[in-house]
Symmetry: C2
Subunit: 340 residues, 2 copies
């Protein structure tokens, strides 16, 4: 693993093979119009010197690079799942992947990060980009597919069916007998947050249970934002018998706050989350939650982007993926403690 002097360039190869860089380029890219002799010469020089074309220079010159980009703000566990799906979709397609992460934005909540990341890449480095959980609108000179877009976005996107997922969660609670069900909402700029709230309201409406606005807390998907909201809900004399949080991160925070306040879960309070992150299975008690397959989201986003780039996409440009309810120990019929 020696650190050697300077990278070997195309002109090094050209000099060694006694031809021009133009010819080397033709050989590297398998273009027609080079004699077999010359090809052999160049090939051998490339082999001997260990030459590999520079992604940077190629990108600058060419319009197509066969590299797709992905921009993300953080590397949560769900990001890895998305990446697995993306790589699966790209595997064998000839497209490579570049992930760009800005160190200044990490752990900092800054508006407009997607656009800045995107600009850095989409000069010419990538043929298109996937944006994971953006906070705002984004423009780009190349195709972009958004995972979990902002509300009202018309950009190509892949999202879980958050409305139906939330409905199933609330129906689960209603089925257990709960009637006073609190809700902790997510960052309101995101489509997913809205849809989950809609699902909550619709499920209640369908069951004939009136929506009590004072039972709704406005978080932003950041777990910390849920703490004061949970405290407020649990401090009330007429506190809810169940709380549905719009993300697992926030739901886990609710569990923690409940423990601090001496409220027992699930006996005194049922809790449901959304996402099914790995931590939820570890929680004590296990968190009942709505599973959205991030792997699938990544897979479909990459598939869409790939054909958007090659211009052969024909399906829906806004994709909705199914969810499923995962029931664990954090939910039980209300008043379990009283009856015990």
């Amino acid at each position: 693993m020696a650190e050697v002097g300077a990278p070997v360039t195309m002109s090094d190869v050209a000099r060694a093979a006694g031809v021009s860089t133009a010819t080397v380029s033709r050989v590297v890219n398998g273009r027609y119009g080079v004699s077999a002799d010359t090809v052999a010469q160049v090939r051998s020089a490339i082999e001997r010197l260990g030459y590999e074309s520079s992604l940077v220079a190629t990108s600058l010159r060419r319009s197509r690079t066969n590299v797709l980009g992905l921009v993300t703000r953080t590397f949560q566990s769900y990001t890895a799942e998305v990446l697995k799906g993306v790589m699966k979709a790209l595997s064998g397609s000839g497209f490579d992947l570049i992930i760009y992460a800005n160190s200044d934005l990490y752990e900092t909540y800054a508006e407009g990060w997607e656009q800045r990341h995107l600009n850095r890449l989409s000069g010419t480095l990538t043929d298109g980009c996937i944006v994971v959980t953006p906070w705002g609108e984004v423009r780009s000179s190349t195709p972009v597919v958004v995972i979990d877009p902002v509300r009202g976005s018309t950009a190509p996107s892949v999202t879980a069916d958050n409305r139906v997922g939330a409905t199933s969660a609330v129906e689960h609670l209603l089925g257990l007998g709960h009637r006073r069900i609190g809700f902790i909402a997510g960052r309101s700029s995101l489509e997913s947050a809205w849809s989950r709230e809609e699902g909550y309201r619709e499920a209640l409406a369908a069951a004939g249970v009136p929506v009590d606005p004072t039972l709704i807390g406005r978080g932003d998907f950041n777990p910390e934002s849920a703490a004061p909201l949970a405290r407020a809900l649990l401090d009330r004399p007429d506190r809810p018998t169940a709380i549905f949080a719009a993300s697992d991160g926030m739901a886990l925070k609710v569990l923690q706050v409940a423990k601090e306040l001496g409220v027992s879960v699930p006996d005194d309070l049922s809790v449901v989350g959304f996402d099914n992150i790995p931590e939820s299975a570890f929680a004590e008690p296990g968190l009942t939650t709505v599973d959205q397959s991030m792997y699938r989201l990544g897979y479909e986003a990459a598939r869409m982007l790939k054909s958007l780039v090659t211009g052969e996409w024909e399906g829906q440009r806004q994709m909705l993926l199914p969810t499923s309810l995962v029931v664990r120990g954090s939910t039980t019929p209300p008043g379990a403690a009283a009856r015990a």
Copy 2:
């Protein structure tokens, strides 16, 4: 999220501001020698047009880019942990991160992938690279830090203390009373595989237990490689009472094979792994394993690379990080079933 015509370049800004690209460049990079008026002009044009400098062009021209690279073959759950550590170390340092993944290599076991990835990036795109679990030697014109290097490598690297970790695992089994302890080794080209095997042998030697070569199976860290080896060990009339696998992936495969063969874990067989991947806690029974903090590995690798790039590194160039034993349900004294 509109897809607009062409990316806005520096000359667009120059034209809009009525200056040359040289001046725009000076303003962008905060160089001395531009009048306050001009700076304001240019700034406003940049703002108006939404200009952001192209990473590609900058990289091609400049020697330093303030971007570090990371190359990986797969996105396992441990990769995400490494990434978290890397981002933490880079946060606020002014260095951005680019991760490069080749779709052709994904899920395919090809020699030399690290070198190919590295060449693509290190033309000029990055100031240095982290390589995760390489399969061979690597050369580069910029600094490289290796996580889990090949045996005998002298390159800067960060590794868990695999020898001591393996020793603690085997000592745990010995302490429970096991004497016939099988071992499933990892890919022999990797330093980590060797060290874990050394730890296994040393722990046995220290306890005065002779090493039985027929109890050692040669895997390659790929879970599938462990299946026939586990079957061979468990089919013997004098089968071991415990198996120590050099990775959790292989250990989980041992659990699966045992179940297929009707061998009960931990009653008929104790199993220990290495890595502590999230899945191990979910397994039934929970897998006893040696925890190596991939977060910490990523963090330290990034810290080292950063100062290698700026030329201010002074510590050891080969770093060894501590491990810790995590005891779960997959280990118990031998003969538990007989006594029950």
